[in-house]
Structures are given as structure tokens and as C-alpha cells.
């Protein structure tokens, strides 16, 4: 117990500096990780897909895929994992941290870019650096997938219109022969320039270790 505790303490420190979570938050996440992976060291896709609450989520597949996407690990790799460890899990989760009040403007901008990259990677499934029409169509289809019987063409129409709009705003003067290959990251950023992504895209992480709350003080 002692050895593994110090071992995990080191790991936690490392993770804390890398991701910015607090110790309590990492502990909670670790607990959850162990729950999901059924006490294994690694998490597989099935583990995530078996979460009951996710069943109704139309973009479940993309979300699960995002966890296994190497690009979200910030190590300039591409491709995807088969299974992920706790470190990768926390790394992905760190994209959803809210901005802290002590952050400077540059840090906020960096965080925002980070989050937008995460979103971008979710759409750009073939890793070519742009969201093509096909990929965008797929996004809209997935969004509408749980809303009953939607004709494929409606989804296509919406995606096409959206793509057209991005193209028109960013490259307004295309000749009839030019081809707009896809939404690049800059254009994607442009879409969100009014939205304060760093605040919009966050999830509240538990600070308090709910397991150890009991009357009296905890000794850890």
C-alpha cells in the first residue's frame, strides 16, 4: 500500500502539472477510471460505450473516439489507441477544465485554442487537417441520428448549407472553378470568435472526494 501510494503520488504530481487539475480532482477521476475499467489498468472502447447514460447521446461514438485519439494527447502523434491508461484519460478530460481567474490573457487564448482543437479533431476524422464536406455531413447526420426518422437528405442539406456559409465568410471571392476543400482550423476558429469557448466548454469537476466525506476528519 505504501509503495503504490508513493508511486501514485508521483504520478499524480506529474499529472497535476501537466493538466492543471488539483489533487482531489485527479483522485476522483482515478476512482472513476477504475470504476469504468473494472479495475484494470487500461480502458477500452467497450468500457466507455457501456456507460448507461451515454446510450441516449447521439454523438456517443465521436465522444468515445475522442478519448482514443492520439491527437488529443498533445504529443504530436496521430492515429488512435486501442486502449488508454489513466494518464491519457486525464489528458482528455483536461480539455474541459474551466479557466481559472488567475489566468492571463495568453493562457486563456491558449486554452481556447486547445479546446477548439479538441472539437476540430472530433470532426476531422481522417486527420488531414481539414473538415471536408463529407465529414461535416457525417457530423450533422450523427447529431440528428437520435431524433427519429430523418431523411438523409435533410442532414446533407443542412451540412451543405453550413459549409457554404463557412466558405462564404472566409473565402468570399471564389471563382466558379475554385474548390473549397474543407474547413481548416483557422476557419473553424473564425466560426467561434464570438463565443467564449474557454468558458462555454467546461465541465465541473468534483473538488471534493465524495467517498471520504464522513463525520469527523479524514486522516489522509
Amino acid at each position: 500500500m505504501g509503495a503504490s501510494q508513493t508511486h501514485s503520488a508521483y504520478k499524480y504530481q506529474d499529472l497535476m502539472t501537466k493538466t492543471g487539475f488539483s489533487l482531489e480532482q485527479i483522485k476522483n477521476l482515478h476512482y472513476r477510471f477504475r470504476q469504468l475499467s473494472e479495475n484494470n489498468e487500461t480502458l477500452s472502447r467497450e468500457n466507455l460505450e457501456n456507460i448507461k447514460d451515454l446510450a441516449d447521446n447521439p454523438i456517443k461514438k465521436q465522444i468515445v473516439e475522442a478519448f482514443f485519439d492520439k491527437r488529443n494527447q498533445h504529443q504530436n502523434e496521430m492515429g488512435s489507441f486501442e486502449e488508454i491508461g489513466f494518464e491519457q484519460f486525464v489528458m482528455v478530460m483536461s480539455h474541459f477544465r474551466p479557466p481559472t481567474p488567475k489566468m492571463t490573457e495568453e493562457e486563456k487564448l491558449a486554452m481556447r485554442k486547445d479546446k477548439l482543437h479538441f472539437l476540430f479533431n472530433m470532426h476531422d476524422s481522417d486527420n488531414d487537417g481539414k473538415i471536408t464536406l463529407e465529414e461535416y455531413r457525417k457530423v450533422v447526420e450523427e447529431l440528428l441520428s437520435m431524433s427519429g426518422d430523418i431523411e438523409k437528405d435533410t442532414a446533407r442539406g443542412i451540412a451543405d448549407a453550413a459549409m457554404l456559409e463557412v466558405a462564404s465568410t472566409n473565402v468570399p471571392n471564389m471563382g466558379p472553378d475554385d474548390y473549397y476543400e474543407g474547413i481548416t482550423f483557422e476557419h473553424f476558429e473564425q466560426m467561434f470568435k464570438e463565443v467564449e469557448m474557454e468558458s462555454r466548454m467546461h465541465v465541473r469537476f468534483l473538488d471534493v472526494d465524495t467517498r471520504t466525506i464522513h463525520c469527523g476528519s479524514s486522516t489522509s
Partner: protein, 804 residues
């Protein structure tokens, strides 16, 4: 919030000086003219006397002299009440018109100030004329007639998403802030009145409870004043919703405190039990009000489900149910304002899905009109009543009140923000706090509440009223006038005129689902999870119940998409019937640029490439159908007598067609470079059919629907169009959808259909072009409609999707 007072655009400059002068003169004459009847109202009915006198004379002396039959007689009493009311309303409206003719003035001074000044003038004139000023700001009139339209307007168009996101903050400000203000002001006022025993003044007789009551009355931020001032300064949405939301929700607190202190001051003692009961009462008042409002809202939504037969009375349901909600909650002394807000906010998503477009416009404009007139009248009356009201000026009291109001507000805001910022993600900066504090305007509600006080319980009533009026004047004039330059000075973020684009919509939804998913993976149920659950509940049960027909199953994204198409069609109508394309398309990007280029396929593959499956046509039809409101579906029963289609809405389908055809024609012009063979004349039957068919619309094919024939010919045989702006040859007689023309069209289709009913195929055209282009054109012209458009100004807030 959408601007109700019109813009400060220099329309006045367009008119010449003499016209402006003439209008002002007319206004002044009317003012003068209105003074007399208004004054005459309170004096005994002379004319009536005269009539009865003459009658007596006639009866008494008919055997002596026969009085001539009165050809023209004056009977003011008969009509005096409605006449006066109309005169006031007319005055208010002319004032509004007048102010915008003096552009410089209206940009410096907010309208509310000008209106109060007008009220002062009118009151002064009436007094000068020696007549008694009518008791215009009668509490009944104010609370039951003047206030509800403003609140309903605010509630119906409340931007739900920002409101809900900031609900915690708003509640903190509304409840805790108002309580703090009330006790601080009341308590300190009492303390002040108790000092200076050496100089015994009137004030000594003031007890604690009346002071507290006074504090409660004066502490509440007034929604009318806030709306009037904030609308003109266009600050960012967050601040607007914070101050405005606070002004709405503090009504519950005010009601409870008012009744509490009023009760107690007649009894004289307060116990802890009473305090506790007060707290319970607050919960009952607030939640009860919301509940009453929600019930009426659901009733209204449910009723609107069945109004497809009687479109004309749809707006009436909205108004009447809301007003009933207000009255019902006033019946129980619950918070009427919260009931109205709840009613409007609850019913809106469902009602808007059910009612026709015209009803929607009607509701919008009626609400704006009523609330605008109400607001104007309220400010004018404030001015009138100031001139009239029994005043009892006491320097100490009034000055101390004003100072305390400001101080209390500032301390309250700072203190509360300190606490709130611990829980907020987007913190409130100092600038924000300043604006929130500075925007705490008091208004007519405070005055009316003061007016309600009974003289025997509150001997100092006049002093209170004077103080209240002074505070109101101070906040409205000083704060109202200076807030705009201060906002500029402090460079507070302004409202972004962002159009709701389809991209934004897609990503909002995507983000919502993503965050819910992450929360689920994390394992704890945050607010995204609950929001998602609520949405799902809404979709599964509530929408089915309250929204008629198949629109209940329409996902939000698609509903938004349709709404945008509709907006585009309307824009086209407003831009003059499609004579030129609206400026939403400044770019030359078209569908071609997006579609990956396909190499020109072999001839045999031509047909397969262009074969637009039946399903697609069906989908397009479905889109158009649900887009153009439910009345469309009635046309499918091919029976002239049951048609209740709205002729103007027919026009929309026509407009959409026209627009697509225009796009098409434009593209054809561009593509003419690629044509190798000159095409047939534009009026060839194939071209004609091309035009008709590319603007597919179910309205003209009910017969075919009946026959179950789902396809329609689309020859795609576009030739070079001669460079004209010929509007397509479909002439729809808008008055009767089943006009002979449409019948012809159907027949055409019928004929066309027989020939080819395996979906759409490319006919060997008399003029042909690259198949890729044709399909591109077809797709593109369908899709360029969907560009996000700049939209009519100020409408952004209302066009939020159903459940954000």
C-alpha cells in the same frame, strides 16, 4: 432586447424643417386642446345641465313656445371617459413621434426623461388652466392596465438561455440584494430621523416600521425604467439580462415585504414568528406566481394546438391567457409579474410551433405596440402626478433617502458580486459591477406602491411620496442620462449583432451533447446532464402534447433550418419581390466550389448521375411543406371548400420558388460559357417545365398526392437563359390557391408525370451542359437559400430555437 422605441436613425433628417415645425405645432395645439377637456372632466357637467334645463323648458312651456329641435348639441359627459383615454394615448404617441424628429435631443436624453418632462408640462398646463389634475396614476389603472403589457412583452421575448444560465446570479441580486437594500435604507432612515433631538422636527414621529416599509418600496429596481434606459444603450447580453432579470424577479420580494410591513405597522409589533411567516410567504408568493403562470402557459400552448382552423384568433389566446395569469395571481396576492414572465416563457416555444406566421407577427407587433404605449403613458403620468400630488418636502428626509439609495445599491452589488464570483465561471468584473449598480433605476412601481399607502396608517404619506418621486427623478434623469456616456467611457462590451447562423446552431447542439457525454463519463450529474434530461422529457412527452401534428417530432436543428429558410423567403418578399438578390450573398461561393469536382462522366452514366431519387424530392417537398405552416397540409385534400390556406403564405412558396429560380438563372448565365450548343428559347415547353419543376411545391399537386404519385419531372434541361430578369411564368392568383393557373400547372405535371415516373431524370435537352454543373446548379440553388442572412434588425432574440 429588441428595440421597441425605434432606432435613432436620422429619418428625421429626411423631412424638412417646416414639416418638423408643423408637427411640433400640431403637438402643442393638441396639448393645449387636451388640457381643456381633461380639466373639464372634473368640473361639473355643465352641458348635461344645459340639456336637462332645455328639456324642462321644453316640457314646461310647450304650450307656450315650441323649442326648436336641437340639430347640434354638445354632450361631453356621454363620451368623456373614452375620449380622455384616447386623448392621452394620442398624446403619448405623438410625443414619441415628435422626439424622433429632434435627433440630437433623443440621442442625448433618454426618452423616459423627455416623457416625464412632457408630463410635467401637461400637468402644469392643466393646473394653470385652473382645473383639477385628473388622478391619472391611479393604482388600479397602473397595476391592472398599464403594467401588464410591458411585463408580458418582456416575458414573452425573454432570452431564455442567458436567463437560465445566470439564474443563480439574478436570484441573488433580486432577493438578497433587494432585502439588503430595504433593510439598510429603512433602518438607516429611522436612525437618521431619530438623531438631532435638540432640533425636534416632524421626523421624530416616524416609527421603524413605516421606515422599513418605505425602504421596501424604494429598494426595488424597476423593470419599466430599466427597460426604457437599457434598450437605448445596447450593452452586452450578460449585463442586460442581469439587471433586467433582477428587476423582474424582485417583484416577489417587494410584494412580500410590502404586505408584511403594511400588516405589521397596523399592528405595531413584530415577532420572530412573523418573520418566519414572512419567509414562507415569500416562497409562496414567488413559487406560486411562477406556478400560476406556468399553468396558464401550458393551457395556452394546448389551446394553440387546435387553432389551425381559426388562425385569426390565435394572438388573442396568447394575450388573454397571459392576462388571466396575471389577474389570477393578483387575486391571491401572489407575484403577478412572475406569473406573467412564467406564462410567456413557458408558452412561447409551443405556441410558436403551432401558430401561423402571421399570428406570430401579430403577437409580436401588438405586444410591442401595447408595451410601448404603456411605457410612454407611465412616464407622462409620472410627470403629471408630480405636478399634482400633495407634496411635503423635507430636505433631510429626501436627501438622505437619495444618498442612502445609492450607497445601499453600491454596497449591495459589491458585496453580492464578491460572493457570487466564487460560484461563477465567467466572473463579473469591476466594470460589470459598476454598470449593475448604476443601472438600478427606480420607477413608477415604487410610486404606485407608495400611492397605495393609507393615510391613517401612514401620516407621513406625502413625505414618502415626495421622496419617492425625487428618487425616481434622480435615477431616471441623472443616471439615465449619464449611463450612455459612461458606457462609452468605460468601454463596456456592447451587444453583438450576431446572427444566428446554421453553423452556430450545429455547434451549440454538438457542444451540448458533448458536455453531457463528458459529464456522464465523469460520473457525476452536473447541470448539463439535467438540462439534457429536461430536453429529452420535453421532446418525448411535452412536445407531443402541446404541438400539433408532425412538428412535434421535428428536431431542433431542422426546425431552425426551416426557420431560416422562412426568413430568407420573407427577406426576399421585403426586398421587393425578388427584383434583386438580398445582400446575404456577397460572396461568389456557390455549391460548385464545395462539391468535389467529378470528372465528366461517360454519357451512359449521365442519367444515373442525375437521377435524383424520389426520396429526395419527397424530402424537399416535406421541408417546404412543414416550412410553410400547417395550413399547407389542408391543400392536400383537394376540395375547394375546405381550403383555409392563407393567401399571403401562398406567396411564400411562390417566393421561395422565385428565389431558387433566380439563383438558377444566375448560375445558368455564368455557366453559359460552358455550353457548347446553344439552347432552346427560354419559353420552350421544356424550359417552362424546368422552371416549374425546379420550384417544386406540393401546393400545386394535390391531385398527384392523391394519386400517390410521388415523383415529379425535373428535366434539368436548362438552356441559356436570355439575359432578362424575367420572373418565372408561374402566376399564382394569391387570392385563391385553386386558381385556374394552378390547375393548369397541375395538369402539366400530370402530363409530365405520365411520361416519366421513375424519379427525376435528365431529359435529352435541347440545350445541354455538363451534367455535373446541372446537378451542381440544382443543388446549389436549393442550398444558397440556406445562407444565414443578416436578418431583420433587432429580431435576433426572438428567433431562438425552441428549447435552447
Amino acid at each position: 432586447m429588441p428595440s421597441r422605441t425605434g432606432s435613432h436613425s436620422p429619418t428625421g433628417f429626411g423631412r424638412g424643417l417646416p414639416e418638423r415645425g408643423l408637427l411640433l405645432l400640431a403637438v402643442l395645439v393638441l396639448l393645449e386642446g387636451s388640457v381643456l377637456p381633461l380639466g373639464a372632466a372634473s368640473s361639473p357637467d355643465i352641458s348635461h345641465q344645459a340639456n336637462s334645463d332645455s328639456h324642462k323648458k321644453a316640457d314646461g312651456g310647450h304650450n307656450i313656445t315650441k323649442k326648436a329641435f336641437p340639430v347640434l348639441s354638445l354632450d361631453y359627459q356621454h363620451i368623456h371617459i373614452p375620449f380622455e383615454i384616447s386623448l392621452w394615448v394620442l398624446l403619448a404617441s405623438l410625443m414619441k413621434l415628435g422626439f424622433h424628429m429632434i435627433p440630437r435631443l433623443s440621442s442625448i436624453v433618454p426618452e423616459s426623461c423627455l416623457l416625464i418632462v412632457v408630463g410635467l408640462l401637461v400637468g402644469g398646463l392643466i393646473k394653470l388652466a385652473g382645473e383639477k389634475v385628473p388622478p391619472v396614476l391611479n393604482t388600479q389603472l397602473f397595476f391592472l392596465i398599464l403594467l401588464p403589457p410591458i411585463i408580458l412583452d418582456a416575458g414573452y421575448f425573454l432570452p431564455i438561455r442567458p436567463f437560465m444560465e445566470n439564474l443563480g446570479t439574478i436570484l441573488m441580486f433580486a432577493v438578497v440584494g433587494t432585502l439588503w437594500n430595504a433593510f439598510f435604507i429603512g433602518g438607516l432612515l429611522y436612525a437618521v430621523t431619530q438623531i438631532q433631538p435638540a432640533n425636534p422636527s416632524d421626523l421624530h414621529s416616524l416609527e421603524l416600521l413605516p421606515c422599513l416599509l418605505f425602504g421596501a418600496i424604494i429598494s426595488a429596481v424597476d423593470p419599466v425604467a430599466v427597460l426604457a434606459v437599457f434598450e437605448e444603450i445596447h450593452i452586452n447580453e450578460l449585463l442586460h439580462i442581469l439587471v433586467f432579470g433582477e428587476s423582474l424577479l424582485n417583484d416577489a420580494v417587494t410584494v412580500v415585504l410590502y404586505h408584511l410591513f403594511e400588516e405589521f405597522s397596523s399592528e405595531g409589533t413584530v415577532t420572530v414568528m412573523d418573520g418566519f411567516l414572512g419567509l414562507i410567504s415569500f416562497l409562496v408568493v414567488a413559487l406560486g406566481g411562477v406556478l400560476v403562470g406556468a399553468i396558464y402557459g401550458i393551457l395556452a400552448a394546448f389551446t394553440s394546438r387546435f387553432t389551425s382552423h381559426m388562425r385569426v384568433i390565435e394572438p388573442l389566446f396568447v394575450f388573454v391567457y397571459s392576462y388571466m395569469a396575471y389577474l389570477s395571481s393578483e387575486l391571491f396576492h401572489l407575484s403577478g409579474i412572475m406569473a406573467l414572465i412564467a406564462c410567456g416563457a413557458v408558452m412561447r416555444p409551443y405556441v410558436e410551433a403551432n401558430i401561423s406566421h402571421k399570428s406570430h407577427t401579430t403577437i409580436k407587433y401588438f405586444l410591442k405596440m401595447w408595451s410601448s404605449v404603456s411605457e410612454t403613458l407611465i412616464f407622462i403620468f409620472l410627470g403629471v402626478v408630480t405636478v399634482d400630488g400633495p407634496h411635503s418636502w423635507n430636505w433631510t428626509f429626501v436627501v438622505v433617502t437619495v444618498i442612502l439609495c445609492l450607497v445601499a445599491r453600491v454596497i449591495g452589488v459589491i458585496g453580492l458580486t464578491f460572493v457570487i464570483n466564487k460560484f461563477r465561471i465567467v466572473k463579473l468584473t469591476t466594470k460589470d459591477q459598476f454598470i449593475i449598480a448604476y443601472g438600478g433605476l427606480r420607477g413608477a412601481i415604487a410610486f404606485s406602491l407608495g400611492f397605495l399607502l393609507e393615510k391613517n396608517h401612514f401620516p407621513k404619506r406625502e413625505m414618502f411620496l415626495t421622496a419617492i418621486i425625487t428618487v425616481i427623478f434622480f435615477t431616471v434623469f441623472v443616471q439615465g442620462m449619464t449611463i450612455k456616456p459612461l458606457v462609452e467611457l468605460l468601454a463596456v462590451k456592447k451587444k453583438q449583432e450576431a446572427k444566428r447562423s446554421i453553423n452556430e446552431e450545429i455547434h451549440t447542439q454538438f457542444l451540448d451533447h458533448l458536455l453531457t457525454g463528458i459529464e456522464d463519463i465523469c460520473g457525476h450529474y452536473g447541470h448539463h446532464h439535467w438540462k439534457d434530461k429536461l430536453n429529452r422529457f420535453n421532446k418525448k412527452y411535452v412536445k407531443k402534447c402541446l404541438i400539433a401534428g408532425e412538428r412535434s417530432k421535428e428536431p431542433q436543428l431542422i426546425a431552425f433550418y426551416h426557420k431560416m429558410e422562412m426568413k430568407q423567403a420573407i427577406e426576399l418578399v421585403e426586398s421587393g419581390g425578388g427584383a434583386k438578390l438580398p445582400s446575404s450573398m456577397p460572396s461568389t461561393v456557390s455549391m460548385q466550389n464545395i462539391q468535389p469536382k467529378k470528372p465528366p462522366p461517360a454519357k451512359s452514366a449521365d442519367r444515373t448521375l442525375l437521377q435524383i431519387p424520389k426520396g429526395r424530392e419527397e424530402e424537399i417537398r416535406k421541408i417546404l411543406r412543414s416550412n410553410l405552416q400547417r395550413t399547407r397540409q389542408r391543400l392536400h385534400s383537394y376540395n375547394r371548400h375546405t381550403l383555409v390556406a392563407d393567401p399571403y403564405e401562398d406567396g411564400f412558396s411562390d417566393i421561395i420558388k422565385k428565389r431558387r429560380l433566380m439563383e438558377l438563372e444566375k448560375k445558368i448565365k455564368e455557366m453559359s460559357n460552358y455550353l457548347t450548343v446553344p439552347a432552346a428559347a427560354s419559353d420552350s415547353p421544356t424550359m417552362h417545365r424546368a422552371r416549374l419543376s425546379s420550384g417544386r411545391d406540393t401546393d400545386f399537386k394535390p391531385a398527384q398526392q392523391q394519386k400517390g404519385n410521388k415523383s415529379c419531372p425535373d428535366p434539368q434541361s436548362y438552356g441559356v437563359k436570355p439575359a432578362t430578369d424575367n420572373v418565372p411564368t408561374i402566376q399564382v392568383d394569391l387570392a385563391s390557391p385553386q386558381s385556374p393557373d394552378s390547375v393548369n400547372v397541375m395538369d402539366e405535371f400530370g402530363r409530365g408525370d405520365q411520361e416519366e415516373d421513375q424519379g427525376l431524370m435528365m431529359k435529352p435537352p435541347s440545350g445541354h451542359k455538363k451534367p455535373g454543373e446541372a446537378e451542381g446548379a440544382r443543388e446549389q440553388q436549393k442550398l444558397t437559400r440556406c445562407l444565414s442572412d443578416p436578418g431583420p434588425g433587432g429580431d435576433e432574440d426572438e428567433d431562438e430555437p425552441f428549447l435552447p
